[in-house]
Amino acid sequence: MAPLLAGITFVTFSLTKALPGDPVYGMVAERSSPEIIEKIRKELGADKSVVRQYAGYVTLLAKGELGRSYFTNREVMADISVKFPNTMRLAFAAMLIAAPLGIFLGFISAKNKGRAADRIITMLSVSGISVPVFWSGLLLMLLFSLRLRYLPPSGTGGIRYLLLPALTLSLPALASLVRVTRVTVLDVIQMPFVRTARAKGLSEAGISLIHVLKNALIPVITVIGLEFGSYLNGAVLTETIFGWDGLGRYAMEGIIKRDYPVIMGCLLIGTIIFISVNLLVDIIYHFIDPRVRLHGSER
């Protein structure tokens, strides 16, 4: 992981610096003399060469720090440690809705292939993938907040605040899980071992649960892992619509203002999360499918 991180810091640092725009122009707002701009650049260390700036950043990282935001002067680490748990709660909640429901509907759809239930579920899942969250989010808000008055429309807080953004965020993942589950279950159903199980006289429910679903889970878990990894890096649109204080909005604001320490901090944390989630998915594969070995030589 260490060489990967070193590579990531180098690539992200160069990309960030290559962006057009200058954070100092944002800091001084609408009027400032060239001397003041130079002075602030010097304070930020932006007058040094990019190589020296990178060296400075790596030294900072080695001390376990992410620096302070150019604009708010707050510690990036402290900000991320507030926003990451929020993002995590949103991601967990969205997955808690999407995963069971998606697998269930996909399974139903596959079992009823070609029938009305399958057609309806397929149609809904296609629209779930196609509808952008800023539209579905606003509709859900109008329904549950304005009309029914069940849930608050925005804010960061407890479960009441969480439900709407989580539901909104879960929709695209829910839809793709339905589709993946349907396809893989249809594949597995035709396998010889399912026929064998039937011939052994097992109940249909037992076959579905133990033989079909378990064997169909690998691609499903891959999709869950990918979606979850991206949720953990923040969901800008959902967070913006519902005023949720997560990593996505934080990173986006950093990018818009060219707040380099914030951008770097978010990218770094994001990378670590993504790698960890993928690692976790690999470990889960091993438990679900004994053919997948953590050590290739073990046989």
């Binding site: 962006l19 057009p20 725009g21 200058d22 954070p23 122009y25 944002g26 800091m27 001084v28 707002a29 609408e30 009027r31 400032s32 003399s33 060239p34 003041i36 701009i37 002075k39 602030i40 304070e43 930020l44 302070r68 604009f71 708010t72 002067n73 707050r74 900000d79 926003k83 709660r89 967990f92 909640a93 808690l96 606003l138 907040s145 304005l146 008055r149 608050p152 429309p153 925005s154 804010g155 960061t156 807080g157 407890g158 479960i159 009441r160 605040y161 969480l162 913006t240 619509i241 519902f242 005023g243 204080d245 909005r249 934080y250 604001e253 818009i256 203002k257 060219r258 889960i284 438990f287």
Partner: protein, 518 residues
């Protein structure tokens, strides 16, 4: 996963879901929407309006503005100005305390002002105070303190200017000139912004980044106390979400998003609860006056003539603004308005042919904001009908700003909002040749006579004197047309029926939150 692990997993999930919850409304508190998190609440670093709105509730300066934009006493109860307008002596009120209960004295002002000008600091607001004698030397690290800032005794502050500057008192109403307690800044250092301590009518008690800020009334405020118990600022980035929050009664005041304006104005329930205020701002299209083709005033005028600005204002904005005749907003102009440039497509076509503008693509830079893009496309259409080729280039804010500061664009769309209510604020930064680029003069307009007139206005000993110079400067600027002057926008807010004495102010620093009540 073993079956026994599942319940534990779900318990963990539930724990995450239910962790920390926040209450809804706070009794006696005004709930106001902000669309962004204030960047900082440290007066040395505030450059955004959102920060300024909140800082006005937490801090005070020597003087402040009243609703009619006149300078009135704040922490200084009176002041004397020397006949040559270079020495300002302020007599402080006694018994004014910071919210840590310490009395404000003259040395606090010296400390606070020098903090802005600190050679080791990175305050972008040095321009507010750099007119004071000795500020330059101090900024460059050549002096141990600013010679022109003196605490004569505990209750007298004397500020000496290097040369007369007619809007100087206006500068002192700004965020950067608020007074801060040295001991608190010393204690908090870089984190003063998160724990601001001032003399204002409110105290910050909670700041959940990107979520909300809570202000409580300061009982020891020197003047009459606020009627509200406090103010809750909720950060709601999305306009439509804010409208839903408002309709549910979770917000008491919102500014009306353009898309919802007509609905509220035509609603019997809401139309009487709309407040409006002509804003002190000017929206304009700027030309790069430093290179062809727009170094020719005739070419700039041709573009100006080709656009029907009043029509755009009437249709696209449903007249939520006033047409601009020149750069100075109508509220600040103490002289007759210049003759606005008419809309005349035929005359424009003729001038375009004469100047050879046709046939070459003109780059029009705009920010990637839907409203701005709409306006840019309307302008593009007008100009193409007059025979020009216009290429729109959208950039997001940081890249856009760097591009126009560096003079990449032939034409660009931007606005200017008052820092303080003096015509000088709409002339010196925007048209004086010393401010090319990031100083504010992004058109790189250069005219020695205009420079001289603006400087004369700054040095004038009285308001009529400065107005005379500014009037002449504005006349020349309108004739030479470095901008196409579009409009001054009007702000609209909507309040709940139970909010009383609510007012909308032309400049955020005026609003100390003292009058509004339930």
């Amino acid at each position: 996963m073993k079956r026994a692990d599942l319940p534990i997993f779900f318990c963990l999930c539930l724990f995450f879901l239910s962790a920390c919850s926040t209450g809804d409304r706070r009794e006696g508190h005004l709930h106001v929407r902000l669309n962004v998190n204030p960047t900082t609440l440290d007066p040395a670093h505030i450059v955004d309006v959102t920060g300024g709105i909140i800082a006005a509730k937490l801090f005070n300066g020597l003087v402040r503005l009243d609703e009619s934009l006149e300078i009135i006493p704040d922490l200084a109860e009176s002041w004397d100005i020397s006949p040559d307008r270079t020495v300002y002596t302020f007599h402080l009120r006694r018994g004014v305390t910071f919210s840590n209960n310490r009395e404000v004295t003259a040395s606090d002002f010296k400390y606070s002002f020098e903090r802005i000008l600190d050679p080791a600091g990175k305050s972008p607001n040095t321009w507010v105070l750099d007119k004071i004698a000795g500020a330059d030397e101090y900024l460059k690290g050549k002096a141990g303190s600013v010679a022109g800032i003196e605490a004569l005794d505990a209750y007298t502050v004397r500020l000496r200017l290097a040369k007369p500057f007619s809007p100087f008192l206006n500068l002192l109403t700004m965020t950067a000139a608020y007074v801060l307690p040295q001991e608190e800044v010393g204690k908090r250092g870089n984190d003063f912004s998160a724990h601001p301590v001032g003399t204002g009518p409110f105290i910050l008690t909670e700041w959940k980044h990107n979520n909300r800020l809570v202000l409580e009334r300061y009982e020891g405020y020197y003047d009459k106390k606020a009627k509200l118990k406090g103010i809750v600022y909720r950060i709601v980035p999305e306009d439509l979400t804010a409208v839903v929050e408002f309709e549910l009664g979770n917000l008491d005041v919102i500014s009306i998003p353009a898309s919802e304006f007509r609905r509220f104005r035509e609603s019997a329930k809401w139309k009487d609860l709309i407040s409006s205020m002509p804003g002190i701002n000017t929206y304009y299209l700027g030309f790069h006056c430093g290179r062809p083709p727009f170094n020719e005033p005739k070419a700039r005028k041709a573009v100006s003539l080709a656009i029907d600005r009043e029509k755009i204002l009437a249709t696209y904005y449903e007249n939520r603004g006033r047409p601009a005749a020149g750069p100075v907003p109508d509220l600040l102009r103490r002289w007759a308005s210049p003759e606005p440039m008419p809309y005349d497509r035929e005359a424009a076509k003729k001038m375009i042919r004469e100047t050879g503008l046709q046939g070459r693509p003109l780059w029009f830079y705009v920010t990637a904001d839907q409203e701005v893009i709409d306006i840019a496309e309307i302008i593009q259409d007008y100009l193409e009908k007059a025979g020009l080729i216009v290429r729109i280039k959208q950039l997001e804010w940081s890249a856009y700003k760097a591009a126009i500061n560096n003079g990449e664009a032939d034409m660009f769309w931007i606005s200017w909002w008052a820092d303080y209510p003096d015509p000088e604020n709409f002339l010196f930064p925007l048209f004086h040749s010393s401010n090319h680029g990031p100083g504010g003069n992004r058109t790189r307009y250069t005219n020695k006579t205009v420079d001289f007139l603006i400087e004369a206005g700054q040095m004038a000993l009285n308001i009529p004197g400065s107005a005379k110079s500014y009037e002449r400067a504005e006349k020349i600027i309108v004739e030479e047309a470095p901008w196409v002057f579009f409009w001054h926008k009007t702000d609209f807010t909507l309040r709940q029926p139970f909010v009383r004495n609510y007012k909308i102010y032309p400049i955020y620093s005026i609003d100390k939150g003292l009058e509004v009540s339930f």
